[in-house]
């Protein structure tokens, strides 16, 4: 199986230039890896937009709301005690915990979705690129299939010209 082409850049601007050339050559699915804690994606592309994250958070919120409502309603009914003159099912009083658990579940769902989606996205970038990139470097990864055919020369030239 042919390997993707990994090109290392010391400068984010050089990587951005290379990406622009690749786009001009029709290669729009090049990926970027940077070991520095620096979001090079600002310069070089923005895969996504990952709308599923918002939907997962919303699903988490609905789950939290439902769990809180059920917890309070079912346990209050099971005991059946009138406390402070309040009705057994005191929905205004239950509102606070319903709000808290709604937010808690929304946040937790968002975090779990981030971790799982990031693991999936990471797999799609060649391990060889992630291993090759070291401190203060940015790797531009071009899929192997883009290197075959008539565009290959343009792609390689784009990467070379993108170097500082």
């Amino acid at each position: 199986m042919p390997e993707p082409r990994v090109t290392l850049f010391a400068d984010p601007d050089a990587a951005a230039r290379a990406l622009r050339r690749l786009h001009e050559a029709g290669v729009t699915d090049a990926r970027v890896v940077s070991s520095a804690p620096f979001p090079a994606v600002h310069l070089t592309g923005r895969p996504g937009p990952w709308p599923v994250l918002g939907k997962v958070a919303l699903a988490g919120a609905v789950t939290g709301l439902t769990c809180a409502a059920l917890l309070q309603a079912l346990t209050s009914r099971s005991m059946g005690l009138v406390v402070g003159g309040k009705p057994i099912l005191a929905w205004p009083a239950f509102g606070v915990i319903m709000f808290e658990l709604t937010m808690l579940f929304a946040g937790a769902a968002n975090f779990i979705a981030l971790v799982l989606l990031a693991a999936g996205a990471r797999r799609r970038v060649a391990a060889v690129a992630r291993a090759a990139v070291s401190s203060e470097q940015i790797a531009v990864v071009v899929p192997a299939e883009r290197l075959e055919g008539p565009r290959a020369a343009a792609v390689l030239r784009a990467l070379e010209e993108g170097r500082p």
Binding site: S35, A36, P37, G48, L53, S78, E100, A121, R130
Partner: protein, 444 residues
Amino acid sequence: MDAPDLTRIERDMVGTMSRTSWRYWLGLGLSASLVVVGGVAWSLALRRGLGVFGLDEPVMWGSLITTFVFFIGVSHSGTLVSAILFFARSPLRAAIGRSAEAMTVITILTAGLYPIIHIGRSWLFYFVLAYPNQRQLWPNFRSPLTWDVFAISSYVTVSALFLYMGMLPDLAMLARRVTGWRRPLYRALSLGFSGTDAEWALLERAYPIFAGVVIPLAVSVHSVVSWDFAMSVMPGWHSSIFAPYFVAGAIFSGIAMAILLLAGLRRGYRLERYIRPEHFEMLSKLLLAASLVMTFTYATEFFMAFFHGSQAEAEVFRWRPTGTYAWVFWLVIVCNSVAPLACFWGRVRRSLPALVIISVLVSIGMWFERFLFIVTTLAHHYLPQNWGFYRPTVPELLICLGGFGWFFTLFLLFIKIFPSISVAETMERQHAAAHEPGMEPGHA
């Protein structure tokens, strides 16, 4: 001062974790000693019972609940301010966000100790949790004290995740840079984050959603803590202003604590390039604004107490500035309403020693403010024959001091294990400053 380059940023931040000065060990030693002293005092209470505290009818909530409310207030500001600064795209966030978020998590962990200590039989604290048991007893979900348990546990979970999510890129960087026992730790904590553009895009999509969850949650937590008091019918407590009043007070005390922590970080780790005078100036303006809101709230409380005609309410508010605890009242006014007014002067805002002094005064003032409204209402409510007096005992005071020691110990350990300033955000801002002519280069 020169703007630091990207390599230097990384080196400086990693350096804060590898360099350990004598000041650090001194601070850690002092705070750990306070923890030991507080622990000994608590063990006395566990062995001899609640009688070692000064609590007695009619004042059954004293300095321990005061410290609980104080720390919840401090916790409030960190995550909330960080999330708001994130949406505002403020340069202040890169400098203070990480410390403020860590402060939030640590203060909630500290605050949570006090109700557990206060109940006396601390090993039975799990009774307040909603768990299936053979007696089929459940917490009273109509009680603000039960709301508190849910609100605080939700807030600490979400705040910890918020802090952790923001640290992922830094942890991945550290996993590559460091050696020894830290390396497997960071590798595990970074959850495999390797800096691909897809991961960054995901993080940048997920983070605003999380920040959007954090802000209402933060506001709700201190509102719920205020309802511990306001839902009762006690004079001085039963007021609709309590939730916003608590939220404003929480932001006020949190900013003061943030100034103290950042001043210590800047001095202790020579981080003058990253925590800059303009950051402190912005914080001092926030402190001043919060102080004015607090003063307005104090005035409103008094106005309403004397205006609406409740004799018991008026008596409590007459007693606060003139009665047994008058010195506490006037101390609160001086610390919370008068001292921060100095921030109207630009020279004070730009003077770090002056800001540290004001922040210490505000922290003292906010602890006593919590003490004042809790104790004066309980000691002086409806029936004159029930009026009483409360004085904290030595074990109570030592437990309160131990809480401060616990807070500073955890914070000092945090900055030794994790970067106290976000490396990723500092780099991002620095790079943007180098490429955008309108942006101030030093605003890392």
